[in-house]
Amino acid sequence: MAEATAESTGLKSIAEDWSSDITTFKGVPWGKAMMWIFLLSDTFIFSIFLTSYMTVRATTAEAWPNPSEVFSLTLFGTTVPLLLIAIMTFDLITSSGTMALAVNYGYRRDKKKAVIFMLATAFFGAVFVGMQAFEWTKLIQEGVRPWGNDWGAAQFGSCFFMITGFHGLHVSAGVVYLIIISYRVWRGYYDNTNFEIVEITGLYWHFVDLVWVFIFAFFYLW
């Protein structure tokens, strides 16, 4: 079927895209569409984790440990609330920015800069995982376990390890993914494409940052 003669807008354009017997997502490389679909499914996984966390926090009659104190750090004799988590947040935002630059340079066919910024992104991601390992170690030493802790509701530990652990796995996988793709970009695997692979990798990375926005808001700040 030929495409509609005149370009429609609004709801009509959606109906036409889905019913035109050709690619639904016009102008979107298949890899990018598939990454989006994967991220959509991942959205459901993280949402279900956060909803479970909401449910156990709302149903327990015990006091919920105060994250502001649990995650405070003492520096030079002053206790700063949530300091490590704030640094981790800024680190992830930094990595999102370098990733956005990598995508931009990819589409400009500036391979060298795209690779450099992808590796910078991987570096900030690795730093994030390192800080998370530090955070886990500190809490485990303070006696937080998935089945209990000294400060209040036992569900605190299970939610914490499950949610931040799953997010940390995503960051770790992202670091590996970034390194592999930057190597392949460097070696010329994608030279006869538009380098949309960098944008696809970027979508995954920005998603990891996006999930952190919700974890930060609901788990650490609420």
Binding site: I14, F25, T51, A58, L221
Partner: protein, 126 residues
């Protein structure tokens, strides 16, 4: 709109959004730094601020960094509509948890912890 040459936007835009994301992140951290909510004993303002900063930040990441703003509506709707059903799940769980909490207190003799108004109240010891 997207085209075969991919998403190409001026670098300045990315730097602006990058800076903005830092400002928004700082805003949400300041909520905790100034102990908003704990200082006055009602949490509504704290929760509202948390949600505002969260949606602002998430929105900018998805719209600009993930380029969703420039994609075709067919893709935007395919991605944004399905998570909407999650709100139903959240609503159901919130409704049900009220009932579970009451059951625990009324029938199982769970002691209700006092509402924590300051961090020190929540933590028995340090």
């Amino acid at each position: 709109m997207s085209s075969d040459v991919g998403q190409q936007h001026p670098l300045a835009l990315y730097f602006w959004i990058w800076g903005l994301l830092f400002v928004i992140s700082a805003g949400s951290y300041l909520i905790d730094f100034f102990q908003v909510g704990y200082d006055v004993g009602t949490m509504e303002l704290r929760w509202a601020l948390i949600l505002v900063f969260m949606f602002l930040k998430a929105g900018y990441i998805v719209a600009v960094f993930m380029h969703l703003k420039w994609e075709r509506l067919a893709l935007i709707y395919a991605l944004l509509l399905p998570p909407g059903v999650l709100l139903v799940l959240v609503g159901l769980m919130a409704w049900e948890s009220d009932y579970t909490w009451l059951t625990r207190v009324v029938y199982f003799g769970a002691e209700v912890a006092p509402v924590a108004l300051s961090p020190a109240d929540t933590l028995g010891h340090h």
